[in-house]
């Protein structure tokens, strides 16, 4: 085990957990998940993953520099 987590993987994992819970609720019929709701969730998750990846690599470069 390493001390610092891989931020990109961590944020992707959290995003998938949130998305998965929404999909489970949709599969159970608790919510109706059309593209109107799914698209913002997906785009938001993608943005968060890219942002996390960008910030992590910047921090990594600074650490090395």
């Amino acid at each position: 085990m390493k001390g610092a987590p891989n931020v990109t993987a961590l944020v992707t994992g959290i995003a998938l957990l949130v998305l998965g819970v929404l999909l489970v609720l949709a599969a159970d019929g608790s919510i109706d998940l059309g593209f109107a709701y799914t698209a913002p969730v997906l785009v938001g998750a993608l943005g968060a993953i890219l942002l996390a990846g960008g910030l992590a690599s910047r921090g990594h470069r600074r650490g090395r520099g």
């Binding site: 085990m1 390493k2 987590p5 891989n6 931020v7 990109t8 993987a9 961590l10 992707t12 994992g13 959290i14 995003a15 998938l16 957990l17 949130v18 998305l19 998965g20 819970v21 999909l23 489970v24 949709a26 599969a27 159970d28 998940l33 059309g34 593209f35 109107a36 709701y37 799914t38 698209a39 969730v41 997906l42 993953i49």
Partner: protein, 381 residues
């Protein structure tokens, strides 16, 4: 042999040259080896690539099996005895390809191309993974063969992309068959990624896991149901008793031709369902058609009206004179098109103009016919 006899000329070893190269130095190397203009080899490779795709495979094979100028070994170095094994692998691949072709025909009907395409993806991914595996090694080995690292990165990238595509297909299929299991699989993948983020191998999982989840989400959002098989189905009932209560297909093209039926006065209900693809219902003139449809993503065209986009809820409930035959059509399409017409409709692929066309087609409402047996339209979305 006496010293006066001339020595037989030895052709130089085949290498990928650095001078005159455009990509990997394969064509310039072949040109130098056979003492002809490399442009001839370039034309041959491009021609083979365009017409059959073999050119790309051949080029990659030359890239992997011939050493670069100045390097002692090729990126993949094969001993003389190993060539027999390579030939054996090629023969096995051909055998798998033939079996895949036959199995896809038997299992998927007219959707066999999907199976074959998937098989080729698996093959490309396996080869890329193998090349990446072989190209790994300490940095000093890369110096021996200058482009070994680039080759390794290309192979790794190809393997990751193929892996992501295969997982996306698997996710889409699972979500179309059992949405709940697919949703729990996404939750599980998320948990694994969170746990793995504290270890060294998490980064490798990000792209495949995201591709799987994205496919599941899109299929769930479009309410795609892949039950009912795959391929191309056409039904042409000639009497009302031959008409089923409903028709369904998982993926492909479903056509129901009702034009040969004499519908009696009053309402006749019909349910049609398609997961992904094109659903066409051909109706006889003289019947008032009432259409209710839901399309997750794609296009609805019902005789005189049409609509497209995401989450399309279509309701066309026109009134009709008494004793007019009435067809009440309830349709669901996950991703694709639902078309109601009074004459045969050209296939979506042809309407789009193949790869050069755009999604949604260019079907003008007049192309589908008229709902002339009805009094007035009552379209709502």
């Amino acid at each position: 042999m006496s010293s006066a006899e001339p020595e037989p000329t030895r052709r130089s070893r085949l290498i990928r040259t650095r001078r005159g190269r455009l990509i990997g130095g394969v064509c310039s190397g072949l040109g130098a080896h056979f003492d002809v203009d490399p442009i001839l080899f370039r034309i041959a490779f491009v021609g083979l690539a365009i017409f059959s795709g073999v050119g790309i495979a051949l080029y990659v094979a030359f890239l992997l099996l011939t050493p670069e100028e100045g390097a002692s070994r090729a990126p993949i170095h094969l001993r003389r005895s190993a060539w027999r094994s390579v030939f054996g692998v090629v023969v096995v691949i051909v055998a798998v390809g033939i079996a895949l072709h036959a199995a896809s025909h038997a299992g998927l009907g007219s959707g066999w191309r999907f199976g074959v395409g998937l098989g080729w993806l698996v093959l490309v991914g396996s080869v890329a993974t193998l090349v990446w595996w072989r190209s790994r090694g300490p940095a000093e080995r890369w110096r021996v063969s200058g482009d070994r690292r680039l080759l390794g990165l290309l192979a790794l990238g190809t393997a990751l992309v193929v892996e992501a595509i295969l997982l996306a297909v698997a996710g889409a299929w699972l979500a179309g068959i059992d949405g709940r299991v697919a949703a729990w699989a996404v939750v599980g993948l998320g948990a694994v990624l969170v746990a793995a983020s504290f270890t060294g191998w998490a980064r490798r999982l990000v792209l495949p896991a995201a591709a799987f989840a994205l496919a599941v989400a899109v299929i769930a959002a479009a309410h795609v149901d892949l039950h009912g098989g795959m391929g191309e189905r056409a039904y042409r009932p000639q009497t009302l008793s031959e008409v089923r209560d409903g028709y369904r297909l998982g993926a492909g093209r479903l056509e129901i031709d009702l034009r040969g039926i004499a519908f009696p006065p009053g309402s006749t209900k019909l349910h049609v369902r398609l997961g992904i693809g094109e659903l066409v219902v051909l109706v006889p003139r003289g019947v008032c058609v009432e259409t209710g449809a839901r399309v997750g993503g794609g296009y609805v065209g019902s005789l005189e009206d049409r609509d497209g986009g995401f989450d399309v809820d279509w309701s066309e409930r026109p009134s009709s004179p008494a004793n007019t035959p009435r067809l009440v059509l309830e349709g669901r399409v996950g991703l694709g098109a639902l078309l109601v017409a009074d004459h045969p409709v050209e296939r979506a692929w042809n309407r789009w103009g193949g790869w050069g066309g755009g999604f949604g087609g260019h079907v003008h409402p007049n192309d589908l016919g008229t709902n002339e047996a009805c009094d007035a339209t009552g379209v709502s979305r």
